[in-house]
Symmetry: C2
Subunit: 425 residues, 2 copies
C-alpha cells in the first residue's frame, strides 16, 4: 500500500512503500540525497551508493522512515528496495527543481509537457481544480441545474466576425463563442436556473496577457429576476463562497504564489459604479480622460475600491447599449442597459446582465445590431411561447484563476493555451 509523501512523517520507524518522480539528486560522496516528488509533496531518500537513475525518473521505493529535522516534513527514508518504473532521458530541456520564473513564458509553453511538472505551476492547476469544484458545488446547492450544450452552432450570438468555422460533413458550422442562446432555451424550458462549465471560442487575432482564443467559461442563467442587481447579489454570494473554500482548503496553492483571497464576506463591500461615473473616477485617479473603460482604467477603479471600500473589486453597470450584445435588456430610455461587469484585481472577470425576454423588443433590437429575424429565427422562437424575465453572467475560469494567484498572463492559467500561433501541444 503506497504512502503519499506528505504522510511519510506519520510512519516513523516503519517500512513503507512510496512512489514518485526524482525531483533532485544531491551527491555528496559518502551519502547521497534524493528528493522524491509526488502529488502530495516531497520526501527525502538517503542512499549510500551512487543513484543509478536521473532527474525526473519515476521510482517505486520501499524503505524505513526515520526522523531528520533537515528533511522535508522532518522525516526521511532509507530505501531497502528501489524499482525504476520509468527512466527519464538524462538531458532535460528545463530544470524542474528550479524556479519556473527563470524561464520566459514562451519557453514554459513550448515545453509544456515538462513545465507542468514545476510544483509552482502544478499548483495553478490544483487550485483551478478546486475552483471548478467550488463553483459547481455552490450552484448545485442553490438548486441550479448543470447543463452541457452544443459547441457547434450555425450562427453566432456575440457578433459574427470572431467565429472559428468547422467543416461539419456537408455543412459549415462555427464554434460557439458562448452558450448564451442555449442557456436561455434551458431557462425557458422550465429549468429556470442553469449553469454550464464548458469551453468557449473567440477567433480574436490580438495576443494580449488578458485573452485566450479557447477558454473555459462558467456560465449562469436564472429566471424571474428584476434587474442586474439580482445577478450581482448572486455573484457576491458565489464568490464569497469560493474564496472562503479556497482559504480553508488551498493555502498551499496560495502560498506557492504568495497569494491571498479577499477576506471573508469582502465581496459584499464591492461597490456598484455606473459606467459614466467610472470614467470620471478613472480621470480622478489617473488624470486621463477616457472614452471607454481601458485596462489601465480597470486597474485604477480597483485601486480606488481597495482604498475606499477595502475590497479589490468593482461592479460596473449602466453600460451604453451599443457596448453590449444585442440580447441585453435596455434601460427605460433605451440607451443604456441592465448589464454589468465585475472588475476583480484590475481585470474584468465577469460580464452579465438581464436579457430581453419579450419578442417585440427582441425583434426591434435585431436591426440595430445589423441582425435579421431570418438569421435569428431559432433565438426569436424562445420568446414566442412564453419566456420569463431572466438574466445571467459568465466568469472566465482562467481569468479568475489568474487573478486569485496573481499570474502575469492568463495563458499561465490554461494547461494548453491556444493563441493565434500556438496550437500545440
Amino acid at each position: 500500500m503506497r504512502v503519499l509523501a506528505h504522510d511519510v512523517p506519520k510512519h516513523l520507524n516503519q517500512e513503507i512503500e512510496i512512489a514518485g518522480w526524482v525531483h533532485r539528486i544531491r551527491e555528496l560522496g559518502q551519502v547521497n540525497f534524493v528528493i522524491l516528488r509526488d502529488r502530495s509533496g516531497f520526501v527525502q531518500l538517503v542512499f549510500h551508493e551512487k543513484p543509478e537513475f536521473s532527474h525526473e525518473s519515476v521510482l517505486r521505493v520501499i524503505g524505513r522512515v526515520s526522523s531528520n529535522d533537515k528533511a522535508p516534513g522532518g522525516a526521511e527514508i532509507t530505501p531497502s528496495s528501489v524499482t525504476l518504473l520509468s527512466p527519464a532521458a538524462p538531458e532535460i530541456p528545463i530544470n524542474i527543481h528550479q524556479d519556473p520564473e527563470k524561464y520566459p513564458l514562451d519557453a514554459l509553453l513550448d515545453n509544456r509537457i515538462l513545465s507542468l511538472r514545476f510544483p509552482k505551476i502544478r499548483a495553478i492547476f490544483q487550485l483551478q481544480s478546486a475552483i471548478l469544484h467550488y463553483l459547481s458545488a455552490y450552484m448545485h446547492s442553490q438548486q441550479f441545474f448543470e447543463i452541457k450544450t452544443s459547441k457547434l452552432i450555425s450562427t453566432g450570438t456575440e457578433g459574427g466576425t470572431n467565429l472559428f468555422s468547422v467543416d461539419y460533413f456537408e455543412n459549415k458550422v462555427f464554434l460557439a463563442q458562448s452558450p448564451q442562446f442555449y442557456k436561455e432555451v434551458m431557462v425557458s424550458s422550465g429549468l429556470e436556473r442553469v449553469f454550464e462549465i464548458s469551453h468557449a471560442y473567440r477567433a480574436e487575432k490580438h495576443d494580449t496577457p488578458r485573452h485566450l482564443n479557447e477558454y473555459v467559461s462558467f456560465d449562469v442563467e436564472m429566471a424571474f429576476i428584476q434587474s442586474e442587481a439580482d445577478l450581482m447579489d448572486f455573484e457576491r454570494g458565489l464568490l464569497n463562497y469560493v474564496f472562503a473554500q479556497i482559504a480553508e482548503h488551498n493555502q498551499a496553492e496560495l502560498d506557492a504564489w504568495g497569494a491571498t483571497v479577499p477576506a471573508p464576506g469582502a465581496m459584499e463591500r464591492a461597490p456598484v459604479v455606473d459606467h459614466e461615473e467610472a470614467k470620471e473616477l478613472i480621470f480622478k485617479e489617473t488624470g486621463k480622460k477616457v472614452f471607454e473603460i481601458t485596462p489601465e482604467g480597470e486597474r485604477a477603479l480597483c485601486d480606488w475600491a481597495q482604498r475606499e471600500h477595502g475590497v479589490d473589486a468593482v461592479f460596473l453597470n449602466g453600460w451604453p447599449r451599443k457596448k453590449r450584445p444585442f440580447y441585453t435588456y435596455p434601460s427605460a430610455d433605451g440607451l443604456r442597459t441592465m448589464s454589468f461587469d465585475l472588475i476583480f484585481r484590475g481585470l474584468e472577470i465577469t460580464s452579465g446582465g438581464r436579457r430581453i425576454h419579450e419578442l417585440s423588443m427582441f425583434l426591434d433590437a435585431l436591426p440595430k445590431f445589423g441582425l435579421t429575424r431570418e438569421g435569428m429565427s431559432d433565438y426569436a422562437s424562445i420568446f414566442e411561447f412564453g419566456c420569463p424575465p431572466h438574466g445571467g453572467f459568465a466568469i472566465g475560469v482562467e481569468r479568475l484563476t489568474q487573478k486569485i494567484l496573481g499570474l502575469a498572463n492568463v495563458k499561465e492559467a490554461s494547461p494548453f493555451p491556444r493563441d493565434r500561433k500556438r496550437v500545440r501541444p
Copy 2:
C-alpha cells in the same frame, strides 16, 4: 417572495406569490382551472372569469391557498392578482401537456426549444445535471484533480479518419475526439489522478440510436496502477456511488420514466468476462456465432449477467490489440491488451485500459497502427522524461443517462444533439 409549486401546500390559508408557465387550461364555464408549472412541479389556480392568457404563457400570481384533495399536492390557489409576464402565441406546434411519446423523435428534436418543456423530457436533464454532480463529487472526494484541456488539436489519437477540421487563423486544426493525450500529460505532470468532463467530437457518418457526433465525455486517468483491474474496481465504486445518490435524491426523475437504478452495491457483482469467452457466451445465449461483440451480443451478455449475477452489467476485458487504440498497453504475448469495456443494460458505456508508458514500447506500437514518431512527437515526449504506469477510462454521459432512464435513443439524452444532418437549434 416567490413560493415554488411543490411548497404551496405548506402555505394553507396564506396569501402567497407564485410564478410559472400555463401548463393546462380547463374551462368549465362557472369555474375555470389553470395548472401552472414551475421547476418544482404543478399548482392549480381557480378562476371564476375566463382566463385571458393562452397555454405556455408565463404568469406571476398572488393568491390565497386553500385545500383541495383533487388538486396537485392537495392545495389550490384563488388568485387576487395575475401579471402576464410573457404571453405565448396561441398556436403552439406541440402540446406540452400531452405525453411527449406521442411525437416521433424527429418532431421533438425539430421543435427542441418547445419539447424541452415536457416535464418528462425536462426530467432527463434534471437527472443529467445530478449525474454530472455525483460524478464530479466522487472524483474530488477521491483526490482527483479536475482538468480542462484543449479541444483544438493538431493530430488525432483515436484514429485519424473521424476528425472534424477547424479553420484556425492560418492553420487547419481538428476537434479532439478525446482528451487522451492531455490526460496522460497531466498524469505525468505529477497530478497523478485527473478527470475531465468536456465535449468530444467524432465525425462518424452513421446515424444510429447509440451515436452522437458531439457528446459529453467523462474522462478519468490515474497513475501507479498495475492493470485494468484497478480501473474496473475504481469504476465499480464510482457507479455504486452515483446510483446510490440517484436512488436517494432523484426518485421523481426515475419515476417520470418508470426507471430504477441498480440495487446498492450491485456493481460489485458485475462479472469480468474475457473477450473470447464473451463471444462463446453470446453464441450460447443467441445461437449466433459472432466475430466481434455486436450490439445484439452486448444485450445478450447483459441478460446473462442479470440472470447469473443479478446485475445488468458486464466488464469485458482481454481485447485483441487490433481492436483497441494504439496507446493501449499490450498483454505479455503482445496480441491482447490490458483494456476493458463496461456494458450496462445492453450498451457499452465505458471504454478504458492501462496505457503504454514506456517510450520504446510506444515507438514500437506506432508503425503497427500506421503512425509515425514525427506525427506523434508530442505524445512520445510524455514518455521521454519519466512517466508512471497509468490508465483510465471514459464514460459517455449521454449514454449513462440514456441507460439509467431507459431511453430508446441516445439523442434523447442530449439537449441539442448533433448528427450528420442536425446542427440546429
